[in-house]
């Protein structure tokens, strides 16, 4: 032990995880760019991005079909994939930081369940709506209902678990489980009333897909997801302090209650928007932050932007697989993320067992 006054100045740790995290950010940016190119290049049709680019550079007009496939089918799908992947991964990371639990996920506290219930209700009971409203909402009825469902679930949770201006994380976790069960039961009842076609729609919605990507959906989900994902790093300092517990975070000058409110709003918005446009895509919110924590540490300053990059890349790659593996048909992307994500997750748990406590 050295006295406070005469400590020799020493260099900081030579290669700490902050350096690794910065390198990871650059690597993941390249990965996202590569995944985007791959996703634009491959598809069920034979249209080639490269020959199209060659045509464009040579000043030739693209054929109408190439233009539609590249700009109206593949490009919005790539952008939507990045948005949804980033939203799910960042929501997972923020939720885990907020709940101080690496297994927390918007799926856990009933936010996704609320979104699911909204979608199920719209698919099955949408036909009962007045014709004018149905025409106005068009094919976005399901997305809109899912978004509303996620928001309502979050607001109920927040009201239940907040007393005297303080949100109890434990109450919220338990209330989330109850909400999830309730939404599941309500969803089950509605499903019971569904006809065969609706059952098929329901199943595919719950498996998740980017197949319905359009510019309109990109424009609908984009702003909310962008605000949440780009704003999340501003919560990093608070989420780091929160790892020490709410009291210690408060002692460090973090406005804990405001942090919790903003984080919950961001998660509800991003998850709601993502579930609305893509259905139930699982595992991204748990696997992506977990992989990054193992590689670069739990510092949210690096974790949140890196989660956005890796989440987007992973979802794009999963989408490429889902589109090409049984082409010209499409495998729902939720199946791909689960098939890839679950074994990776188990492998991580086995490999690091005992070394890093969950």
């Amino acid at each position: 032990m050295v006295s406070i006054t005469d400590i020799p100045r020493q260099p900081d740790v030579p290669l700490d995880r902050r350096v690794i995290a910065r390198r990871a950010t650059m690597g993941l940016s390249l990965l996202l760019a590569a995944a985007s190119l791959l996703s634009l290049t491959y598809g069920a049709s034979g249209t080639s991005l490269w020959s199209a680019l060659g045509d464009l550079l040579a000043g030739r007009e693209l054929s109408r079909m190439d233009r539609v496939i590249l700009f109206d089918i593949r490009l919005p799908r790539v952008i939507l994939g990045i948005l949804v992947g980033a939203a799910l991964a960042v929501s997972g990371a923020v939720m885990q930081g907020l709940f101080r639990n690496p297994l927390a996920d918007p799926g856990l506290v009933g936010v996704s369940a609320g979104g699911g219930l909204g979608a199920i209700t719209a698919i099955v009971l949408g036909g009962m709506l007045p014709v004018a409203l149905r025409d106005w909402a068009g094919s976005y009825l399901v997305s809109f209902a899912a978004f509303i469902g996620a928001w309502v679930a979050t607001m109920i949770l927040y009201r239940v678990s907040t007393r005297h201006g303080r949100t109890s994380v434990a109450t919220m976790l338990l209330a989330g489980i109850a909400m999830g069960a309730l939404a599941g039961a309500a969803g089950g009842t509605v499903t019971y009333m569904a006809d065969d076609q609706q059952l098929r729609d329901l199943t595919f919605w719950s498996l998740g897909s980017l197949a319905g990507a359009t510019w309109a959906k990109v424009l609908a989900a984009g702003p909310i997801i962008c605000i949440a994902v780009l704003g999340a790093p501003f919560l990093a300092r608070g989420l780091n302090a929160l790892a020490l517990g709410e009291a210690s975070a408060g002692h460090m000058g973090i406005p804990v209650q405001r942090l919790k409110s903003i984080a919950i709003l961001a998660v509800a918005g991003a998850t709601g928007a993502a579930v609305a446009v893509s259905g139930g895509i699982g595992f991204v919110g748990i696997v992506v932050p977990h992989l990054l924590r193992l590689a670069t540490g739990p510092d949210h300053q690096a974790l949140l932007p890196n989660a956005a990059l890796l989440g987007g890349s992973m979802l794009l790659l999963a989408d490429v697989i889902s589109r090409t593996i049984i082409a010209p048909a499409e495998l729902p992307i939720g199946i791909v993320t689960a098939v890839l994500g679950a074994p990776i997750f188990l492998w991580i748990l086995l490999r690091r067992r005992g070394l890093v406590d969950l």
Partner: protein
């Protein structure tokens, strides 16, 4: 400059835990809060840190703590919790670095390493916090608090360390070293308020003592005034003898049971 509490009442539900407590700690001194289990010493500290809701007045350096913003308080005082469970696999240095973001020394990136050295954890920087022993974890937390309020005095205004049983899970060697470290903080002009269990360490290091008993102050003042046979035996409900070590003149306490022969002074 002082850390002062006047007429502080803390209730938990309908039960009053602190009854109109007054407390004063001076900058430049190590003030110990002692008392038996359940006497309200940790509750008093929790009121001082703002964790427990209270009625009454609490002022740090003459300013009402409730009128100060969180970041203003964070720049003025660091709080060491009794035990801190960490949610994610941070390394020791990363935990200490969290202290940088709270105080006034955000730019001083060498500070976390210096603080780890100061608590005797040189070479532990890249160890996972969760793999450390309880005593090592406690010293990592102390390093984090030191990083937050590294300079004991800033612009003539003292800063404070509020410590909840800072040496509870340490071996005797580290107990002494940590007490010396915080004593030095006080000697350099900062204020230290520590909830202490060990009366002998208190007698050795504290400049003044507040003894709590049944949610009230049983005595406060310089060590040799407060730690006497009468007050101690009443507060702790057992026979305690205060003795003086001949060669150094230091005070030490010895409990004895009724079956043992009485020891003289």
């Amino acid at each position: 400059m002082m850390f002062e509490a006047k007429n502080v009442v803390v209730s938990l539900g309908r039960k009053q835990i602190l009854h109109h407590v007054g407390f004063t700690a001076r900058a430049g001194e190590l003030t110990a809060i002692v008392g038996p289990n359940g006497s309200g010493k940790t509750t008093l500290l929790r009121a001082l840190t703002g964790d427990a809701e209270y009625s009454g007045e609490i002022a740090i350096n003459g300013q009402d703590t409730q009128s100060l913003k969180g970041w203003e308080l964070a720049a003025m005082r660091g709080v060491l919790p009794q035990a801190a469970v960490l949610a994610f696999p941070f390394t020791a240095i990363e935990v200490v670095r969290l202290g940088l973001t709270a105080g006034l020394s955000a730019g001083n990136t060498r500070l976390p390493t210096q603080a780890l050295d100061a608590v005797g954890l040189h070479g532990f920087a890249n160890r996972f916090y969760q793999e450390l022993s309880g005593g090592e974890q406690q010293r990592v937390q102390l390093a984090r608090i030191l990083t937050q309020v590294w300079e004991p005095v800033v612009d003539g205004v003292p800063r404070w360390l509020l410590l909840d049983e800072p040496v509870a899970s340490l071996d005797i060697g580290h107990q002494l070293k940590v007490m010396q470290l915080v004593q030095q903080y006080a000697k350099r002009g900062g204020g230290v308020i520590a909830v202490m269990h060990d009366l002998n360490l208190t007698a050795m290091f504290a400049d003044s003592v507040t003894m709590m008993c049944n949610g009230q102050v049983a005595g406060s003042g310089p060590v040799d005034e407060v730690l006497n046979n009468q007050t101690l035996s009443t507060a702790y409900g057992c026979s305690l003898r205060v003795n003086t070590m001949p060669p150094f003149g230091g005070t030490f306490l010895l409990p004895h049971s009724a079956s043992q022969p009485t020891m003289g002074h």
